[in-house]
């Protein structure tokens, strides 16, 4: 049988309450007593039964997710995963809520973080925007002792406890490498369609892509980046203009969420390009199946949500996290390794 608090109380010659105090390092224990108890703990190899502890505390963890609003399919998919995770939240003693704020808007994001802090939530997961207001708000959350994780787009250097998402530089490199191999010796320039350079993930993907393309044996022109603000109409216009202006275009790397506009422009022109996009959504899945898109780089939203919950809970309890399990992989999907469609993939 595993040792319990009773065993360590007996071994140390103290009461349960005292054991509990040193276990949760609460004040009110003489250092000698504390030392004796700690000795007993290591001697017995005690490890606390978290389930029992939570039962006794009957504590619940209100967690808030802050996402950009709008029709960004990946973000809406993330939201769906959060709601789905909410169904099982009872078992994990968590209560999940979602707050949406205007995309690429630092002030709104900062306000949402402050509101969550004021509410006294047990943890915050937010899709970061790279701006001083957001830095400051995260700092205030830290001071209030509320763990914060960044989701999808990081803000390292801020006080965030953890980043949950892919290595976006590597993602860009991967896109570049695949683009190079798929194009082979075929000539023609390549264009990058982004959302906004205000979010770090887009900037990092571009950086990785450019470096991979530069390292290719076949030199290739990269046209100036199109910033579509993740907006379907703007993305469509930018892409249409580009297709008209550059008849020998060989490839497109869509590193943001402008895929709807991109696909519309491509379909209209009926050109055969090498297209690499991000995030598996109903749109990109369909385009992959029809051959309009050659590869999709993806981060698993379900995995990210579950990871965020586990990490925020662990942080709230002051526990450590299993880094290997929490690492988010960069999935490469082609037509052939597409997972079966899930009902609410968006």
């Amino acid at each position: 049988m595993r040792p319990t608090v009773h065993d360590i109380a007996a071994k140390a010659g103290v009461s349960l309450a005292t054991v509990d105090r040193v276990l949760n390092d609460r004040p009110g224990v003489r250092s000698v007593t504390k030392a004796r108890v700690e000795a007993a703990i290591v001697a017995l190899g005690y490890v606390r039964d978290v389930a029992a502890a939570n039962l006794a505390k009957s504590r619940i963890y209100p967690l808030v997710f802050i996402l950009p609003e709008g029709d960004n399919p990946f973000m809406r998919g993330l939201e769906a995963e959060i709601r789905r995770a909410g169904l099982h939240s009872a078992a994990e003693r968590t209560r999940l809520s979602v707050v949406t704020v205007p995309a690429f808007d630092p002030a709104a994001l900062a306000a949402a973080i402050d509101a969550a802090v004021a509410e006294g939530v047990a943890g915050i997961a937010a899709v970061a925007v790279d701006a001083p207001e957001v830095f400051a708000a995260i700092g205030r959350a830290q001071e209030a002792d509320i763990p914060v994780v960044t989701l999808v787009s990081d803000l390292s250097g801020s006080g965030r406890d953890h980043f949950i998402g892919v290595d976006n530089i590597a993602a860009g490199r991967t896109a570049g490498s695949l683009m190079g191999r798929f194009l082979g010796s075929r000539p023609g320039p390549v264009v990058v369609l982004a959302g906004s350079m205000r979010v770090r993930d887009h900037g990092e993907r571009l950086e990785g892509f450019l470096s991979a393309m530069a390292a290719m044996s076949v030199a290739r022109t990269i046209l100036p980046v199109l910033e579509g603000q993740d907006d379907p109409d703007l993305s469509f216009r930018l892409m249409s203009d580009c297709l008209a202006a550059v008849p020998d275009l060989a490839g497109v790397y869509s590193l943001g969420a402008g895929n709807r506009g991109l696909l519309k422009a491509l379909a209209k022109r009926g050109v055969d390009l090498c297209v690499i996009a991000h995030e598996l959504t109903t749109e990109t899945r369909g385009a992959l199946e029809s051959g309009l898109i050659d590869a999709v780089l993806n981060q698993d939203a379900g995995h990210e949500v579950r990871s965020a919950i586990r990490i925020l809970r662990a942080k709230a309890d002051g526990l450590s996290v299993n880094a290997a399990q929490e690492r988010i992989r960069l999935d490469i999907f082609i037509k052939d390794n597409l997972p079966p469609a899930s009902p609410d993939e968006e």
Copy 2:
């Protein structure tokens, strides 16, 4: 507050014991009483607190993993993941053990299953071999009411409760598709290096690969399959002979665990082929980084182990499983999206 057994007891006008009886449908309750309790349960929207239930039961779940022995790096990596999961097993009230049996040996596998059943374990996870003895052994486990999941290689049609692994036909198709794109218009035949057709995963991968190659616009000769028995020496000899006999060989698909022998043969010849292999190990990772291998298809061993544990526990408790979470993805790794090396990846 969530409703508890007390609430339902009060509402139904019975005692806790009776509530418990109907909750775990144990005998000894008049059908009228039972109906009244069940009405209260749905009326209150009761959902059982699993943590508390397990605490009260103080039950532990002995689970056994049956793997092929030998120096198959993927299997040893799987074993490492099981041991790693064992460290956290306390929290999940599981006790994990690993049994190894000779590879591709149905009788040994069947005997190991029978032994586990005799021991009275709570669940069995096994890498299946396609043979009647194994079918029969799985059947006996089912009769003893012990859940069985197949790991990595399936045996559908047997009574296994679940398969944990990738869709191997899709894996083969993916390999074929990538091979075709990477080779482009480069001429030359392609060869497949397999382990044994006695395990279904190898057969399925071959099937998928052939169909994808057949569907390519560029017709390409596929040489007869080399069966290396996942043995480094035999794989090395077969590959060396092939390289000598086919000077214009364009590509290799290694669908089993013969990568060590393959790489040795390739390094010796210093040829530049398109090589696609399975499973990310220290060897394949190194070869990917050095450019000897172009792509690695992988199934995440850690994910598989954690999934097996969750599923066996759920089955043992008669609970349902979240299919989406348990689906094992087929990872595509190229040089650029390689995850950081973990200490014990093997």
